[in-house]
Symmetry: C2
Subunit: 348 residues, 2 copies
DNA sequence: CTGAAAGCGCTAACAG
DNA sequence: CTGTTAGCGCTTTCAG
């Protein structure tokens, strides 16, 4: 056990030369052993290993990649809305798992829907020469990534499609998911359905809104006089907006909320008005213990881990040289009935 | 907008030499401009900038760090139980925020409480020459980190204290938090309190268990015949264990659950037995919408973002050369009353 | 204010 | 099977 105080000047870090000297071999032989290359005798391997252990030597991968032929850094850059967000966490987890199998490390960063920081964060990844980029972007164009792409940095967009750039992407079936939610409410007889959505600058929010409106049109229900509220960026705003609509004239018999925090805000507003068992609610995106609420919350669940896995598979295929045309993979959503979405227009 | 198919052989990436040639200056001048060093005329700066823009040049920080005096990679390695876990996500977020202010990137990895992978993951960080390590470990000794520490890799342990190694750490006040929860139940008159805990190999689980037992002792309540169940590693196991205890002879009038998933398992078990309004429950660690359940779940809340911020502050202080003695920072917990913990022994 | 030379730690290409 | 030489892209040192 070391002292209770940090060791003063750090002890110098051994290099391959030190290992080579101690083992009495050439530096290239050490390199061979460290990288598991063939053509080294068992005896030599052992001598090198011993020297490595004695010195506690750790290979410097950054130095190696400088000269290495393919220039791979075995590092991925992941940009998500926020690493604290459960959806992003699940995506991250799946990517990390796939990356670990390839001895690849993951740099993660949060964008917080701040378009101004997007380019700076990605630039930081690029300066580190990541092999690939997995991105959830918010700015209005990703064309600035064109040259990085041409230089061999693979990239796949997650939960977003790139704008002004051709690239792979993996997204939830936002439009159909929202349509399914809407159809579910229509099937129960609802005609007065309110929509509460996230910021319209976010692509997925727009898609979900479109899915909602599509389905109404398909059913021949005019959306003209239905409450449609956008830009609900947090629970607080959502609660207020839903409460206002519920208290207004001609209140809706059902609600479709396009995002997690909006759904929770809606639940709170319904409770405050005592309407949680009389007004139907379907939310987009599942959340923990949604089944333990009263009523249980019916949701359109996404598959974040499937999205992460697909994104990882895609990027590694590209890194491995796949030159097939870009694809947009659409991951289906699932309707989970838990009670809130099955309330009839008359509150039964 | 580029083509719908990836560009065939990647176009070569420009280096400083290319920029220097195009700008008609020496390579060192480009270096000065890219790093914001002084002693370059405005005119020269502009010519370099123009060349950089024309070529879309990005500095290679890995190459630079090779020769750079302090050898800083501006990279941190973060090891958590799982990046998909909300506690870890909040810690990560806070660390990332502090890191961004210092232009430092964060490599994140999940350990999944698998002691065998711990050393391998950390070794991967070390091979990338991270400036610092922020770690949630599970193995029985971290003495293998001694040499990395002596060589100047800063490290702080989060949610854990290192074993066999002296280093900084930042943890929740697990023991007092658990004692507070127990005292809260004792104060309501409960004497028959059951404990349900996570795997005992996890340090925090042990601390919480100790806090529970401490407080009983302090109150003169024997824990000998109280139900104490450990090693509940998931919701399913917790549900079964709680259900079994509730159905057994002499069931408890109150429950203390030492972790998130255990708490949720307990909630489900109580519901299944219809006892959610008759048996008190206090859980360690808060979770989303705990206030929307019926009853609301009383918890001992941690401050993951405070923990992350403190850990980041600590590691950056060390990276900046702070040589003061190692400290263990203990972050207080907060009791949040929501109903489930305020049920009296007679179910009122 | 600017640039040439040396070399960071490693791997590629070769020669033995 | 092993070692030597060159040089990855950059920063340092030092001379202009």
């Amino acid at each position: 056990m070391s002292a209770q105080t940090p060791s003063s000047p750090p002890r110098p870090r051994p290099t391959m030369r030190h290992v080579a000297a101690l083992a009495g071999v050439g530096i290239k032989t050490v390199s061979r052993v460290m990288n598991g290359e063939p053509n080294v005798s068992e005896a030599t391997i052992k001598r090198v290993r011993d020297a490595v252990d004695r010195l506690d030597y750790e290979l410097d991968v950054n130095a190696g990649n400088l000269k290495r032929a393919n220039g791979r850094t075995l590092t991925l850059g992941l940009l998500v809305s926020s690493v604290a967000n459960p959806f992003a966490g699940a995506v991250h987890r799946a990517i990390e798992q796939a990356a670990a199998e390839r001895h690849t490390a993951v740099l993660a960063a949060s964008l917080d829907d701040d378009a101004d920081r997007e380019e700076a964060i990605i630039s930081a990844f690029l300066r580190r020469r990541v092999d690939g980029l997995i991105l959830t972007t918010v700015s209005t164009s990703q064309s600035y990534l064109g040259s990085a792409q041409e230089r061999g940095t693979s990239m796949v967009f997650v939960d977003r499609q790139p704008i002004g750039l051709a690239a792979d992407s993996v997204i939830s079936d936002n439009r159909n998911g929202a349509a399914t939610a809407t159809a579910h409410l229509l099937a129960r007889g609802h005609r007065r359905i309110a929509y509460f959505g996230d910021r319209t600058l976010i692509q997925t929010a727009n898609e979900r809104r479109s899915g909602f409106l599509d389905e109404l049109r398909r059913a021949g229900v005019s959306a003209l006089d239905l409450p449609v509220v956008d830009d609900l960026s947090d629970e607080e705003l959502a609660l207020e907006a839903v409460a206002r609509v519920l208290a207004g004239p001609n209140p809706p018999t059902a609600i479709f909320s396009s995002q997690n925090l909006v759904t929770i805000g809606a639940v709170k507003a319904l409770r405050q008005s005592g309407l949680q068992h009389r007004v139907a609610l379907v939310g987009f995106d599942d959340f923990p213990v949604a089944d333990l609420l009263d009523p249980g919350i019916t949701v359109i669940a996404q598959s974040p881990s499937a999205i992460g896995r697909l994104a990882a598979d895609r990027i590694f295929a590209r890194i491995d040289g796949d030159r097939s045309p870009f694809v947009n993979e659409v991951v289906p959503t699932t309707l989970i009935e838990r009670g809130s979405g099955e309330i009839a227009p008359d509150g039964k």
